[in-house]
């Protein structure tokens, strides 16, 4: 069953066509990644799902109902640009935001207390947000997103600006929420995070959804056309390879994408004649490679 359905949605501002006829479904209990460069229309789509703005055409369904003030309660939203009232105390602020999501006072208090305990943050209740360090503020912001215990979580660039400890904490919580059957949508332009966590993805480019679906099947549809090569020796031999592209080139390893018609075995022979080959493996393409190819396809 689809928790979020985006159906032929378009949205324009002044002179920009921010989202063009986009459709996708997010199945219940999945982690769904929206990918794309900055300005591709990710945040505009997320705002429409949150009923912050309204599509010009098309519609968005949340649990089968049209997005509205009511469906806002079912969503917890962590915007890319974080923000809290600096002069308000942590406890009051979290209570206020949870109540705005329709929570009753008693419920809100228990939930907030639980999350503060979990993040070792109980001592901050009486402090103004402005007095906290950046890392602490991020924790408070995160609690404000999840405290009302929604079914759907939307994280816009959740890892940007997080220190490693908070990143790890956030990753754990996201996986835990998934195991509780919650649905998570997150938007990012960092491919490796999506690759690690997402079940489904959709790719944005200039306001269009150029590719979407199950991450594994998308990869399979591209075939095992990528070579992982690890080696010891001088990497300058790589410049002698014809009709290939490289990703993630380093001193000891490289991803090679051969053009159609190139035999990988020839590449192995060529590499072995210059350096010691430690690993040579045909794999499914990385998300980054898929993204580059898809975007290229749409240009031509």
């Amino acid at each position: 069953m689809s928790v979020i359905q985006v159906q032929q949605v378009s949205k324009s501002f002044e002179n920009t066509h921010a989202v063009k006829n986009v459709s996708f479904d997010i199945p219940k209990g999945s982690i769904y990644g929206i990918l794309g460069p900055n300005g591709a229309g990710k945040t505009t789509t997320i705002r429409m799902i949150n009923y912050i703005t309204i599509p010009d055409t098309g519609q968005i369904l949340i649990n089968g109902r049209k997005a509205s003030a009511q469906t806002q309660r079912e969503i917890g939203y962590l915007p890319e640009e974080r923000g809290l009232y600096k002069k308000m105390k942590v406890g009051e602020q979290l209570m206020y935001l949870a109540q705005l999501k329709g929570m009753r006072k008693e419920e809100a208090r228990n939930s907030i207390k639980g999350w503060l305990d979990r993040f070792d943050a109980t001592g901050w209740i009486g402090k103004e947000v402005g007095e906290l360090s950046k890392g602490m503020q991020q924790k408070v912001q995160f609690i404000s997103t999840v405290a009302h215990n929604p079914d759907i979580y939307i994280f816009d660039e959740p890892f940007s600006g997080l220190d490693p400890i908070n990143s790890e904490l956030l990753r754990d919580v996201i996986l835990e929420l998934k195991s509780e059957g919650k649905t998570i949508l997150f938007s990012t332009h960092r491919m490796e995070q999506v690759e690690q966590m997402c079940d489904f993805i959709c790719l944005y480019r200039n306001g269009e959804n150029v590719l979407n679906g199950n991450l594994t099947s998308i990869k399979q549809s591209f075939g095992k056309n990528t070579i992982i090569l690890e080696f010891d020796g001088d990497h300058s031999f790589l410049s002698g390879m014809q009709d290939v592209r490289f990703n993630n080139k380093s001193n000891r390893s490289v991803e090679i994408i051969p053009d159609a018609g190139v035999n990988p075995q020839d590449l192995l022979v060529y590499a072995a004649s210059h350096v010691t080959v430690n690993r040579f493996e045909l794999i499914y393409p990385s998300l980054q490679e898929i993204f580059i190819q898809t975007v290229k396809q749409h240009v031509s």
């Binding site: 949150n50 912050i52 915007p79 974080r82 923000g83 705005l100 404000s144």
Partner: protein, 428 residues
């Protein structure tokens, strides 16, 4: 509109502000500021200026100077019978501050005396000398005409005009001056409130925008609920401030009588305020302000507040920082400031066609109508019409502002022009 969310926002806007030092300080300092603006000039004008200008009198009649010295011995000084040129040089060298040559003609004829002086001392010096001379010359003429005591007494009599206002409930003695005074104060309180509370709203909108919490909030509530909660919350703050001032003011007035009694020493307990004020020698009597004045004041304050605060909110939503707001503020400040140009006309005749019309214009009514009501009886239909026009105006303005606000709060980066604001109104 979701009432429970509106109430949450209203409560937050109100409570977080009412607890701030800024609120407590402004509640204490504003009336003190007003008091200083009123009281200090009164005190200063009653204090005699220390510097005395000495005016030399060359008296060819031998009678006028004596009379002048009787009236004001420190002011005048006899001058030797020297030429006008040497008198001039005495003034320029500073041995006297000015001189007047008084001749027989000034008593018998219609020629007026001339004062030659350095130009210092201002208007009060000239009018003081004029008064002294007028009295001295008049008395001299009366003596020469051998006018009797009766006629002198008649000439000395002064007639003042007492005013009594007739109403349906009876007649009532009214001190017109103090009513005008009340009208002026009401005008300036509302005038200051439009700027002050408007700025509070604008700053609060900009703060939510620049701290980026706006996106979190709008993922929970509709922008209209947020705008209304904010406007009403700050409005309630304003009413709280007025309530505190009214209670404190009433308390002070209640204390004023016994204090005046203490100062005056003679009056019996229970004397009314005006007698007490008279005994305390205040420059005006305490005006009794009718309930209708207070009610008009509160209603028009609210109407004006609703008109201007939602406009300030719209301006705040269209900019990223307070410093960018100036250009958009201009069309907002003009209607607030224009009534300043009208108060002279309205005060001199609160019932003229000009006064009636300007006090009905919705953008001016919040300031001018309470002022008129304080100064003069205003027909009920005028107050009702003024209020109705205000209500229609703020309904329309809140609608337009809310539409600008809803788009503006999510727009970052560029400064919006008026054309863009206009287009935002038409977005869906």
């Amino acid at each position: 509109m979701d009432t429970s969310k509106f109430l949450l926002i209203f409560k937050r806007e109100y409570i977080t502000r009412v607890r701030t030092k800024a609120f407590i300080l402004s509640t204490i300092l504003a009336p003190m500021g007003l008091l200083i603006l009123i009281v200090v000039p009164i005190i200063l004008s009653s204090v005699q200026t220390e510097q005395r200008q000495v005016i030399g009198i060359q008296d060819e009649t031998q009678t006028v100077l004596i009379r002048l010295l009787e009236q004001n011995p420190d002011r005048y000084q006899p001058l030797p019978p020297v030429s006008a040129d040497s008198l001039r040089s005495m003034v320029l060298s500073g041995s006297v501050d000015g001189f007047i040559i008084i001749t027989e003609e000034h008593i018998t004829g219609n020629r007026s005396p001339e004062l030659f002086y350095t130009g210092t001392g201002g208007l009060s010096l000239v009018s003081e000398i004029r008064g002294d001379l007028r009295a001295a010359l008049q008395n001299e003429r009366l003596d020469r005409a051998e006018v009797g005591e009766t006629v002198r007494n008649i000439l000395a009599m002064r007639t003042s005009l007492q005013t009594r206002v007739l109403t349906d409930t009876g007649e009532q003695e009214n001190d017109t001056m103090s009513l005008f005074f009340v009208g002026y104060i009401m005008f300036f309180i509302i005038y200051a409130a439009m700027f002050g509370y408007g700025a509070v709203i604008m700053r609060s909108v900009i703060e939510e925008k620049s701290s980026r919490i706006i996106e979190v909030i709008t993922s929970s509530v509709r922008p209209f609920e947020l705008l209304m909660g904010k406007v009403m919350g700050v409005g309630a703050l304003g009413l709280t401030q007025f309530a505190i001032w009214s209670v404190a003011g009433a308390g002070l007035l209640a204390l004023a009588a016994p204090i005046a009694v203490l100062l005056g020493g003679t009056a019996e307990v229970g004397t009314d305020l005006n007698t007490a004020a008279a005994q305390a020698d205040l420059p005006f009597t305490m005006p009794s302000i009718g309930a209708e004045v207070w009610i008009t004041f509160i209603l028009f304050f609210l109407a004006g507040y609703l008109i201007y605060s939602s406009l300030y909110a719209a301006v705040g939503s269209a900019v990223d920082a307070e410093s960018d707001a100036n250009q958009l503020m201009i069309p907002l400040m003009i209607p607030i400031m224009l009534p300043l140009l009208f108060i002279g006309n309205v005060a001199s005749d609160p019932n003229s066609t000009f006064s009636v019309i300007t006090s009905l214009v919705p953008f001016f009514a919040p300031m001018l109508m309470p002022m008129r009501v304080a100064m003069t009886p205003v027909p009920f239909w005028e107050i009702a019409l003024g209020l109705l026009l205000c209500i229609i105006t703020f309904t329309a303005i809140i609608w337009v502002s809310a539409r600008i606000y809803r788009v503006g709060i999510l727009m970052y980066g560029k400064k919006a022009s008026f054309g863009e604001l206009f287009r935002w109104v038409r977005y869906n």
